[in-house]
Amino acid sequence: MEADDLALVDAARAGDRGAFQALVIRHQRKVYAVALGIVKDPDQAWDVAQEAFVRVHSHLADFKGDSSFSTWVLRIASHLSIDALRRERNDRRASLDDLHEADLAGTGAGEGILATALGADPGESALRKELAGKMAEALGQLPAIHREILVLRELEGLSYEELAARLGIQKGTVMSRLFHARKKMQALLGAYAGRGAPPGGGGGSHG
């Protein structure tokens, strides 16, 4: 937990490599998961995750403990992931963020994919586990700006304000971009989740 992370950071700062090793082991999977969600390619995510820890190590002296170690290393990982994407992507941000009436299609009453498929008690269902896997898979099919905002929101847990600051966009844009990202995700999951849904309950729009 966090108090222990801080003790490990102190020890690592004093040159204790075992402490740094323990920090890496403790956080490596989540750091990798964040990178994977954003950059999509497993090998690139692996490199980004490693680079994140290398940077953490070189800036241990700067870590003040204002935020948790986890927040810090995930922030570095997501920055690196977004930087990696920005070197590659064709930026269509403005057009992707606009919201029009037609964009609401597929998200209204009678068109819920997950809620219908998972039912009232989704806690422990096998379908829920499958959907989680499909969702991670579907994430790779989303545009980069949608992947990054979903990962920052869902894995890093950033608030609207933090997302706006991190991505350099207005809060309103944060909300509309998240909406588009989630709607696309829902459409991608539609065919899969709809398989187990009652007649008329599944099969969302793929538009």
Partner: protein, 147 residues
């Protein structure tokens, strides 16, 4: 490479026996068994009943710890004791050996086909995850032998 080395270790290390004297009589041993619930995505909280486990649990990234159940069982050598878990699974505990300074306990999860045999010293506790993590929540069993 690491796995190869681990396999070599598996062959070599049993020869390094524990100098702890012979096993004692098969008299029942009181064993304190607790089931814990750890959650990652929840407001941080630490059940005061788990204070003695803080140093072990604090190594994990779960932020909310609660004790679900507790029992003290008189366990005889090699006689299995089964504990039901909140998700319907069960964990089977067997006291394999009791020595003056150590106790060896087997923790078996039949549904996962996982079996761990752990020897701990007096005052130590085994913390063993017993369910896969789902939605940031996992259950653990702790075993504290009191020979």
């Amino acid at each position: 490479m690491t796995r190869t080395a681990a396999a070599c270790l598996a062959l070599l290390l049993p020869t390094l026996s524990l100098a702890d004297g012979p096993a004692t009589s098969p008299a029942p041993v009181p064993v304190r068994v607790r089931i814990l619930r750890g959650a990652r995505q929840a407001p941080p909280a630490f059940d005061p009943k788990l204070a003695d486990l803080r140093s072990q649990l604090s190594k994990l990234s779960y932020v909310r710890w609660e004790q679900v159940s507790e029992q003290t069982v008189d366990m005889s050598d090699r006689k299995p004791h089964t504990v039901q878990l909140p998700n319907g699974d069960e964990v089977t505990l067997v006291v394999e050996a009791v020595k003056p300074r150590t106790i060896t306990v087997e923790v078996a999860l039949s549904r996962r086909r996982t079996r761990s045999r752990l020897t701990i010293g007096r005052g130590q506790r085994i913390v063993h995850q017993v369910t896969a993590e789902r939605d940031g929540v996992a259950y653990f069993v702790t075993v504290h032998g009191m020979p």
